[in-house]
Symmetry: C2
């Protein structure tokens, strides 16, 4: 059976529910994070817990429990669901507001179990790269994982029509990020480039950069002109859900 | 007793709840509207129903019921709550998504009863104008009432510190709107000005413009340079919750 945890309480996923006055529901006000569970263990948990706290701070929200308690609840959920492969979403909302705006309670903390994100075998992945469409859009507070994905969800019809798998955001000059991945370019010189600012500081991004350096690749973290997209030898996306994903 | 309606079902407000996989909660994906109830009657209901439908269309969401059925549910809620003075929030979410992203169900429709917004007697209102602070910010899709109020909610500490009642958004050149009101300026010539584009097409705004014209005032709907703020004789805000509100 699948469970979620709401404010510390383990609840069957099918019936777990939250009050209608929650500020995430009413005002899109909250932050989240997501990590994979592989062989029963959360992947890069400490990185995700750190980022979740940073996102909360940027949104002026306080965790209602200690990080230790949050960590324990995560392991409790993994055990309850007997999860070997899957994912966990953390959500911290603005709390309940009877007037629909000013919180009357501390934030609500949701720990949601997720099915595994479909992953292809390495060979098949490289052979089935995804298409991108571009949109001019800079997220409001790109360093934080806020709940505002309206732009991405509103564009699903456009993505489908274009046969695209993700939307690449640009401010008109620079390659930024997709709505749920960081973007890497391998330039003809062999240098690996990714955006430095106005993007989410992804966890997989961090480890890809680290690994590339260890492998002796030259890396650059900074502004990427849009024109580099056409010049790049390879383009790939990274994210905690999908891992590393090639772009056609 | 207070009730809400969730997908057509009348539920006691204290226990009404929505599943944790709703896309408004998970991704801030949804639209809303709000109108006052005065002497038991919804104020400008048809305008709000029209705008709610327009917001939904801009977000690529379909109302799961006919407008006639929605109207009936609103009246049913007002009767059940025996509401004389108050407000109603309409919320249409992206629906439930087991994978946290792609909707598996039609949108969820919430009709929430709200307590009356505090209104002062006319004299007291004019004598207690509110302060504004300004932020450089243009809403993503200003014509629609989307759920993304994270910016406004995140700024409550800054507003409190400044003793401000609202945040005025500007793109650096123009006076736009506050996070929940339209802005009007009365210029030294007596002309009434309000922003034409990149703002919500407010219902109270519409009736204030209509009334001003009927009273023989000159009105202008278009770009308002920021410098006009200092020159204006009077500044006031309009919104369905607060009505008309003076700015100091």
């Amino acid at each position: 059976m699948t469970y979620h945890i709401l404010n510390g309480e383990l609840l069957p996923a099918a019936t777990a529910a939250i009050g209608l006055n929650d500020l995430a529901l009413l005002r899109g006000y909250g932050v989240f994070d997501f990590f994979s569970v592989h062989r029963g263990r959360p992947v890069f948990l400490e990185d995700h817990l750190q980022r979740f706290q940073r996102s909360a701070a940027l949104y002026e929200l306080s965790l209602p429990v200690s990080v230790e308690a949050l960590r324990e609840q995560i392991f409790k959920l993994i055990r309850a669901c007997d999860m070997q492969e899957g994912g966990i979403s953390l959500i911290l909302t603005g709390g309940y507001a009877e007037d629909g705006f000013h919180a009357d309670t501390p934030p609500n903390l949701l720990i949601l179990s997720r099915p595994p994100v479909p992953r292809f075998a390495d060979k098949q992945r490289v052979e089935t790269p995804i298409k991108l469409i571009t949109h001019r859009f800079v997220r409001e507070l790109p360093e934080a994982k806020g709940l505002n994905y309206a732009r991405a969800l509103r564009s699903q019809a456009a993505m489908k029509a274009a046969g695209a798998g993700e939307i690449l955001y640009t401010d008109g000059q620079r390659v930024l990020e997709t709505y749920r991945s960081n973007v890497f370019l391998v330039m003809p010189s062999g240098k690996l480039c990714t955006a430095g600012s106005d993007v989410l500081q992804g966890i997989t991004r961090k480890y890809v950069l680290q690994l590339a350096t260890e492998m002796g690749m030259e890396t650059e973290t900074g502004d990427i002109p849009l024109s580099h997209l056409a010049k790049a030898k390879e383009v790939f996306l990274t994210g905690s859900g999908k891992g590393v994903f090639p772009v056609s």
